[in-house]
């Protein structure tokens, strides 16, 4: 059980180690196809917008997913609606035509003619880059969809010039002449629009203009950014939060623009092949994006790179980077285009193999891999000089045909981290109990660490324990694993872990019990012995109980430290905690509501009695002052008392003591004043009565 746990742990370490060296780029594969058909889902046969519909259809087309028929009817309907409407914006027309280029809906040539005339007018008068992009893009699409319609631009040179005038000296573009910020994303759009102008031009565009544009592209590629693993991408320099484009969409825009421009111009654009390869690695390196827009950008850009005229990137990939010597695994290397189609005839060479220990010296000589036509892979038996361990293999791709070198980008050498695993031999394992003073051997036991052992040893504090063994690789070299631990575990679950060191060729540890009695807390009794030997490249890593040793240690002195309380099971630390049950005070028994209400009524009885009594006594308000001023004071006095009582009720219901005291203070002063006035008035009237 424990052994299995450790095995799982080692697999985990291995997996992590491989992830860290993730510079292996895999071409587009079936996992992309299934992810694609899940990402683009239409609601009842139609997409939210034609732009989304185009992105879905285009991705399906590239990945070879046949889903057209499901969405054809609804989408074609909205395409025809958009194209037929005379108020559609250039952007809507653009995406409608793009969808139509894939679905081939039935659209009347008359409609195309009307749109073409409108778009030409827009292209001639446009001032913003997006207007140029959409109108010219649409015209190019009409040209492809209908041969009857005249889409050629009479003033191609003028339009070319007005788009070019938005360009910046560093190869980037502005979105419009009144917007000073330049953008890499816009550069991609501009290149695509310009390539459209070139293909629509009724007369040839001036070659010098195209030449300057080519040097603009080279300048743009100077600003490409690079990751450590060779992936390259474009990013916007100005962070404009409103129209911020992600590095993915920026790079995709540039790739689309570059490939479109390269397709319409003669002569090559001197963008270095490794930059194109770096862009391809960037798109492949992001894996499978989680949202539809990113997915489309990735797949569409890779499709543009797949057949571009600048340089077609070839991706070297390894199905497995862990090679087992015991299973006689062969090194398998595939070279494909980004979408996974086969590469032209080529040879893969293993140039160097750097052991992770020594970064400089190569352990092998340069070797060629053998090509297997059936699996379209290049194979090589693991060279004899490559022992178990962790290596960096350096591959080089050499194209057979020198003409191909102009078309393809192989990117020179590719570094791949490779793990070579094997079964490690354990030899001369023995465990010995020695007499401390003389060094004479008391007991000596051979161990078979490959199988089960159940040793029974005994020792006292004057003796020593020595454990030793040798590890050798399948090629007979000494092997030093990451982890070699010896664990002694007392009956009371007190554990002691020792690191087994390497001395010479042997792994050896000597436990001198005299020096360890304190560490062992003077605990005599049986200790289980467990040995751990583990490494990522060691196929037979183990964690094994090899028996027990009965230790006879001296009695603990008074001051000796107590053994620690056994640690709680470490896994329980992360497990669910015991549920806390809250105990509330049991609510007091309340009387029935009826009884309380009856008594509430009863409480009013004396009050009624009081009022009735007042009536019977013939109480009157004749003494209430009649003249205006004292009457006001009298009323105010009673109002004041009522206000104070009302305040008390509020105090009971919600106010706190301080607010109440503040108000009581204010009301008190008022009450004192009016009370004094009215009462002294009363007193003076009664005194007058008396004297009269």
């Amino acid at each position: 059980m424990a052994t299995r746990n450790l095995g799982g742990f080692l697999v985990l370490i291995l997996a992590i180690a491989i992830c860290e060296a993730a510079s292996v780029f895999q071409p587009i594969s079936d996992s992309h196809r299934s992810a694609g058909s899940e990402l683009f889902t239409a609601n009842d046969g139609s997409f939210g917008s034609l732009e989304e519909a185009y992105e879905a259809l285009r991705s399906f087309e590239i990945l070879g997913i046949d889903k057209k028929s499901d969405i054809r009817t609804a989408t074609c309907q909205s395409v025809v609606d958009k194209l037929g409407s005379s108020s559609s914006a250039p952007k809507d027309l653009f995406y409608a035509l793009k969808v139509n280029s894939i679905l081939k809906c039935k659209v009347n040539d008359k409609i195309f003619e009307g749109i073409a005339a409108r778009l030409k007018a827009i292209a001639n008068t446009a001032s913003s880059l997006l207007d140029f992009y959409h109108s010219i893009g649409s015209l190019v699409l009409i040209k492809d969809q209908s041969s009857e319609v005249d889409v050629l631009l009479a003033d191609a040179g003028g339009i070319f010039h007005s788009i070019k005038s938005l360009s910046q000296s560093d190869g980037r573009w502005r979105f419009s002449s009144d917007n000073p910020e330049s953008s890499t994303y816009a550069a991609g759009l501009a290149l695509e629009a310009l390539s459209g102008v070139v293909s629509l031009a009724s007369s040839e565009i001036d070659q010098s203009k195209i030449g300057t544009l080519k040097s603009d592209i080279l300048k743009l590629f100077d600003s490409v950014e690079k990751y450590d693993d060779g992936a390259m991408y474009f990013d916007e320099k100005v962070v404009d939060l409103r129209e911020r484009q992600s590095p993915l969409s920026t790079t995709a825009s540039v790739v689309r623009g570059l490939t479109a421009f390269a397709a319409v111009t003669s002569g090559n654009i001197k963008v270095p092949g490794d930059k194109i390869l770096g862009l391809a690695k960037f798109f492949l390196g992001i894996g499978i994006p989680g949202n539809a827009k990113d997915f489309f950008n990735q797949v569409d850009s890779l499709a543009s790179l797949e057949s571009n005229k600048v340089a077609i990137p070839l991706i070297l990939s390894l199905p497995a980077t862990v090679l087992s010597l015991t299973k006689k695994d062969r090194l398998q290397v595939k070279v494909n285009t980004v979408l996974g189609s086969s590469a032209p005839p080529l040879t893969v060479k293993l140039v160097r193999a750097l052991s992770s220990g020594s970064k400089v010296a190569s352990t092998i000589e340069s070797q060629e891999l053998k090509f297997d036509r059936e699996s379209e892979s290049h194979f090589l038996d693991v060279p004899k000089s490559v022992d178990v361990g962790n290596y960096i293999f350096v591959f080089e791709v050499v194209l057979h045909d020198s003409e191909d070198e102009k078309v393809y980008a192989t990117g020179g050498s590719t570094q791949v981290q490779i793990f070579v695993t094997g079964v490690i031999k354990i030899e001369n394992a023995e465990i010995v109990v020695l007499d401390s003073d003389v060094g004479s051997i008391e007991t000596q036991k051979k161990l078979d660490l490959a199988g089960e052992n159940s040793l029974a040893l005994s020792a006292n504090h004057l003796q020593k324990l020595r454990l030793s063994f040798q590890l050798t690789t399948p090629f007979g070299n000494a092997f030093k694993p990451h982890q070699v631990f010896l664990k002694l575990r007392h009956e009371t679950k007190v554990e002691h872990i020792f690191v087994v060191g390497k001395s010479g060729k042997k792994f050896e540890i000597i436990l001198d019990f005299l020096g360890l009695v304190e560490k062992f807390y003077y605990l005599s009794g049986s200790y289980d012995i467990q040995l751990t030997v583990g490494d990522a490249v060691m196929e037979n890593s183990f964690f094994r109980a090899i028996g027990y040793i009965d230790l006879d240690l001296p009695e603990a002195p008074e001051k000796a430290s107590r053994p620690p309380t056994p640690a709680i099971d470490p896994y329980s630390k992360y497990g669910p905690k015991a549920e806390i049950s809250h105990i509330f005070r049991v609510p007091e028994k309340r009387p029935s509501q009826e009884l309380s209400l009856i008594f509430l009524g009863l409480v009013f009885l004396p009050l009624i009695g009081f009022l009735v009594g007042l009536l019977r006594l013939g109480v009157n308000l004749k003494n209430f002052p009649t003249s205006a001023l004292p009457a006001t004071f009298g009323i105010l006095f009673h109002v004041g008392i009522a206000a104070v009582l009302l305040l008390y009720v509020l105090f009971w219901l919600k106010l706190d003591l301080f607010t109440t005291l503040k108000w009581v203070g204010l009301l008190g002063v008022f009450l004192l004043f009016v009370g004094h006035r009215i009462l002294s008035h009363q007193a003076s009237t009664s005194a007058k009565l008396k004297s009269a």
Binding site: K589, F599, L602, V603, L607, G613, I641, Y648, L679
Partner: protein, 119 residues
Amino acid sequence: MGKASTSSTTKDALVLFDSLRSAYSATPTTLKIIDLYVGFAVFTALIQVVYMALVGSFPFNSFLSGVLSCTGTAVLAVCLRIQVNKENKDFKDLPPERAFADFVLCNLVLHLVIMNFLG
């Protein structure tokens, strides 16, 4: 004999009550009002005590504040009665208005405390 004595005791008591009533009817109306008020307060307190005896004294502070409010105000009213009564020579110089002002002030202070204690 027994019967005669019982009837005579009843008669005596009636006579006593009559004399008390006639003596009391001579009391000024002001004092009667105060007496009525005291009776009202005491009865309210009594009803609360009976309720407590039936139900238990769980919100004890509420019970205390209720009863003390009644007894307190009754005591204050008795004090007022002493001061207002003209036959009390000790307070001859004290005008009844002043006594009433004291009564109002004391009641306000008492009820502030009661409200605080009510819970």
